[in-house]
């Protein structure tokens, strides 16, 4: 079943915020502890499930899981998301030394799969999982600036790099769907730096094949790109996913025109300027205005533009859910 159909069957207007981090703060855990241990991770998701019963509950976002499993050094923090420290894969020879991990056994891929399979069994709604996008993983391996330059100067390297990262993403995304993730969101933030033409040439086919891998296991693929992805909407709309999760700089009217009527457009309350910094009344106002403008479209789903910062007041998330009622 496509995500559009699953969402259409819900009795209430759905709200799909990306909100793992405030759940960590609410349960008094440290980010590093949650991202490296199963039970604290499940505890923070249980908090969010009990408070919001979202139509789709995603695990905590971590864009370093795949890179770390491939052997890259990751720096954790108690308060915020982890980061990849070095980007050592600069040559085809170094790339050749890497192999596609087994998500059922290797690194934190296995850990996140375990969290997803356990949480999926105990929640009301759909379970959501994340996997990093192939271009973003490539940037983690060789450095974003280096990768950006090589999209123009060294197409052969980028092609081989993308072939490898696509295999990694396919394996992980397929495994997440297999253990119970009904929705798998492909997080491809680094692609925002590409021209529409480069996106078509470099990222589109890899995304389609990852989306197909998710469908193989009855999952629904969603694509998220941070920032102003307006120039990529045409490509994103043909990436074979069920929905696009769009950040606050994107005009959803433009997005809704760019996608087929059964492709969801999820967004796009500003995660920092509104959700984190503003008062609940302002959240209500922004959310209601989105509903007023786009609520008539069956494929519009109210959500946040991006993952909510850990400092986001729960009252603001309450206000977002309440606005849809």
């Amino acid at each position: 079943m496509k995500l559009f159909d699953a969402i259409s069957e819900l009795p209430e207007r759905p709200v799909l915020p990306l909100m793992g981090y405030p759940g960590i703060a609410a349960t008094g855990n440290s980010v590093a502890n949650v991202l490296t241990n199963r039970d604290p991770h499940i505890e923070s998701l249980a908090f969010l499930e009990d408070r919001y019963h979202p139509p789709c509950l995603f695990h905590v976002m971590d864009l370093t899981v795949e890179a770390e499993t491939l052997g890259l050094e990751v720096r954790f923090s108690d308060e915020g998301p982890p980061s990849v420290v070095n980007h050592p894969i600069g040559t085809l020879e170094q790339l050749g030394s890497l192999s596609v991990p087994d998500p059922r056994k290797d690194g934190r891929m296995q850990l996140f799969g375990d969290v997803v399979s356990r949480v999926a069994m105990r929640i009301d709604g759909m379970m959501g999982a994340y996997c990093v996008g192939p271009f973003t993983l490539a940037a983690e391996l060789c450095g974003a600036e280096e990768l950006a330059v090589r999209t123009i100067t060294d197409g052969g390297f980028v092609k081989d790099m993308m072939s490898f990262t696509t295999l990694v993403c396919q394996a992980y995304a397929r495994a997440m769907a297999a253990v119970g993730a009904r929705v798998v969101a492909i997080l491809e933030p680094t692609a925002v730096i590409l021209s529409p033409d480069s996106f078509q040439k470099i990222v589109l086919e890899p995304l389609r094949s990852i989306a197909a891998a998710i469908r193989d296991r009855d999952g629904c693929p969603v694509l998220h790109i941070c920032g102003d992805s307006t120039h990529l909407l045409g490509g994103m709309a043909s990436s074979g996913v069920d929905g696009l999760s769009l950040d606050h700089p994107v005009d959803l009217a433009t997005a809704l025109e760019a996608v087929p009527a059964d492709m969801l457009v999820i967004g796009n309350v500003d995660p920092v300027g509104v959700m984190m910094e503003a008062e609940p009344a302002a959240v209500t106002e922004v959310a209601r205005s989105l509903i007023e403008r786009f609520g008539g479209k069956q494929n519009f789903v109210l959500g946040t533009g991006c993952d909510l910062p850990i400092e986001t007041p729960l009252e603001n998330i309450d206000a977002l859910f309440a606005a849809a009622k």
């Binding site: 720096r75 923090s77 308060e79 915020g80 998301p81 980061s83 990849v84 420290v85 974003a144 600036e145 950006a148 330059v149 999209t151 123009i152 100067t153 730096i193 590409l194 021209s195 480069s198 941070c226 920032g227 120039h231 920092v272 300027g273 984190m276 910094e277 991006c306 910062p309 850990i310 400092e311």
Partner: protein, 217 residues
């Protein structure tokens, strides 16, 4: 000695090379231009700064994206590093001095690097302090003569470092001597005004406009 016609031709070629992002040809043309006794300052102003202004316009019109800006900026840097000894010998003053960095705890570098390169292309002298930059390092840069401190943050958990830098600058008696501008996904106009920053921008082109206007150049 080159004729003015020949020198105009080589400046055109350097300019076109920077716009196309052809680093190798820009470097060799710069060497030829210097050997033919063209002034380094002329090459900088009439070829490099002019080219990066075109690149900035193309970025604003969405003809160029980050990758295109990066290869143009790298070509410009290749030329600039050849010009630098001549500019220093001739005591040519830059339009202004800027230090940019991503704040402590944050390892994102591409946005900050683009801002740095585009500012360089606009004729400013830019010191890139890197990522994960401690507050003291920004203050030291101001003490060394930076007139503008540019800070980037993509994680809300690290943006508080920016407020620390502003107060440290005040403690050291440097706040009046330096302008503070911030950017990155974790910051907003509201936050900029709360911490007492002088400017906030959402992309590299805005950064150039804000910095130039703060410096009055």
């Amino acid at each position: 000695m080159v004729t003015s016609h020949e020198s105009a031709g080589i400046l055109d070629d350097i300019r076109a090379g920077v716009i196309a992002g052809d680093m190798d040809s820009v470097a060799s043309l710069t060497e030829t231009a210097l050997a033919s006794e063209l002034e380094a300052k002329t090459i900088m102003d009439e070829a490099l700064v002019a080219a990066m202004s075109v690149v900035g316009d193309k970025f604003e019109r969405k003809e160029y994206y980050v990758a295109e800006v990066l290869i143009s900026a790298r070509a410009m840097q290749a030329s600039l590093s050849l010009l630098k000894p001549h500019l220093e010998a001739g005591k040519v003053e830059p339009l202004g001095r800027v230090a940019v960095g991503t704040v402590a705890g944050d390892l994102h570098d591409i946005g900050k690097n683009i801002v740095g390169m585009v500012l360089t292309g606009a004729g400013l002298e830019v010191e890139n302090l890197g990522v994960d930059v401690k507050p003291e390092a920004f203050v030291d840069a101001a003490a060394r003569g930076a007139q503008v401190i540019g800070m980037s943050s993509l994680l809300t958990t690290t943006r508080t470092v920016m407020a620390t830098v502003v107060s440290l600058l005040a403690e050291q008696g440097l706040r009046d001597k330096v302008k503070v501008v911030i950017g990155g996904a974790a910051v907003t106009e509201k936050f900029a005004s709360e911490i007492g920053a002088d400017g906030y921008g959402t992309d590299a082109n805005e950064a150039v406009k804000i910095v130039k206007s703060l410096l009055g150049v």
